[in-house]
Amino acid sequence: MLIRKRADVRPSEITSRENYLNRRSFMKSGVIAGGVAFAGPGFGAVVPREPRDKLDDVSSSEFSTDETPNSYEDITTYNNYYEFGTAKEDPFENAGDFRARPWTITVDGHAEKTGSFLFDDFIKPFDLEERIYRMRCVEAWSMVIPWVGISLAAVVKHFKPLSSAKYVAFETLVDPVQMPGQRRRVLDWPYREGLTIAEATNPLAILAVGIYGEVMPNQNGAPVRLVVPWKYGFKGIKSIVRMSFVDKQPKTSWNMAASNEYGFYANVNPEVNHPRWSQARERRIGAGLFAAKQPTLMWNGYGEHVAHLYTDLDLRKNY
């Protein structure tokens, strides 16, 4: 029997999307009226324990898109998070009791600073920023998501990688008791992902700890997940417990499962189709029943920031 736990948040506590959007324009106008250059607050990131708790001291970012974000409901009920089941609604239904605290992240490999860190200590040195990004799934749908996170480039620099560190590899928690999807070997657990050092230090890459100005819901990868908006969504590894600086290209989960369909790079590319479906267009979630699909953009529209990373790469081979 499925027992669905009621959200322990009163409707009055939830910021409506309209108010939320107004808040942004209010903040923007405040900045302009004050004539103050917003130089970054330098507060240090503090993330409360419970999903939906408000995140404080979040600065806005020039990398955010002006497109309207998807509703909180769309973002939190339509997820690919196979650790909680393979259907889109499974993570919403199965992740309610997941314990995202206490949480330990291990940093190892070719770096000066390594060790195991409690999540709160791990993110404390960094500043929270809101990044409203397009998210393009390899399944040809997309959303706009107002993430809150910390710059991955800052995190990488903080741990002082050695010159031998060419890649950063990530791993998700393995806990079949809490993550029912791991009781079947749909993927070879733990979920693994990786970036080149150049990709990891690109200013677009973030480790996200929240959405809509609130603590990350479990089904979206609490407490911390990767967001790399110019790549297909599956690169955005969730519930990270390990970050390794390595000298060789790390194994990545979907590539291990079907290397002819999912590459290491997985950059959004409308010209290279998935073997079984077209990547030329995408369905924007929330656009409605009768909305046409929209054209997919190269690098998901982030080419000005990332195209230079791939000038020497054959994108047909390195999909």
Binding site: N70, T77, Y82, K88, E139, R276, R283, L289, K293
Partner: protein, 232 residues
């Protein structure tokens, strides 16, 4: 009221209404009366119609084995309705793909049909279903004779193509298409087993029915029951 009239006046309309429930739920969920279609309604509508199409082809193919095992010959009276509901749900699945998913964009439709094998397979099954649906009336069945039987055994081909179509579009988790594949294998296996057994009996000459096709036997039974009705 005799059994045949009961089937025609009560049971057939009742089963017809039951078979329409999944389609009605798509409409009422779209209007948010009974539920919701979720964040990606286009995908949800296609999936629901496709799934029900697969379920109905399985139900249709299960009629003959169930009848033989249970001896409930009245089951046969629902087979055409189930077959036509298979066609109906796959037609809706096709229309949802054509209008909602592809938005009638001809270039994309042509590309999908020719370059995506799982769509080519699904479309082939749909063409076979059209052929069976338009030849499903009593009159055409009589006129086509044995060719009708041949055409309508492609129900099994539709089953195989349908499961294959589903299997091929799944990303990684094959649990659901596997369930359909197992059911289909059981239904096909039963049919093969039955044939072999009948052939062996023919050789030994033990079964008077063995010389005729099972459908001819069914027709003979039908005529007999109609005669019986007339006498009553």
């Amino acid at each position: 009221m005799d059994t045949l009239r009961q089937i025609r006046l009560i049971w057939k309309p009742a089963v017809f209404v039951l078979c329409l429930i999944p389609a009605s739920l798509v409409v009422t969920d779209a209007l948010e009366i009974t539920g919701k279609l979720g964040a990606n309604p286009v995908e949800e509508i296609q999936d629901r119609f496709g799934n029900w199409g697969l379920r109905f082809i399985m139900i249709t193919l299960a009629v003959t084995p169930l009848r033989r095992i249970s001896g409930w010959n009245w089951l046969l009276r629902f087979r055409r309705m189930f077959g036509l509901f298979t066609f109906f749900y796959i037609l809706m699945h096709f229309l949802a793909w054509l209008f909602l998913d592809q938005g009638l964009l001809l270039a994309a439709i042509a590309e999908d049909l020719t370059e995506r094998p799982f769509i080519t397979i699904g479309f082939t099954a749909f063409l076979l279903l059209i052929a069976m649906a338009v030849t499903s009336t009593d009159g055409i069945r009589r006129r086509m004779g044995r060719r009708w039987d041949k055409l309508h055994t492609s129900a099994y081909v539709v089953g195989v193509l349908g499961v294959w179509h589903y299997w091929w579009q799944v990303k990684l988790d094959f649990a659901e298409p596997l369930i359909y594949a197992v059911i289909l294998a059981l239904l096909l296996g039963y049919r093969l087993w039955w044939r072999r057994r009948r052939r062996q009996r023919t050789k030994r000459g033990t079964s008077p029915l063995a010389i005729s096709d099972s459908d001819q036997a069914h027709r003979a039974a039908q005529t007999a029951s109609q005669d019986l009705q007339r006498i009553r």
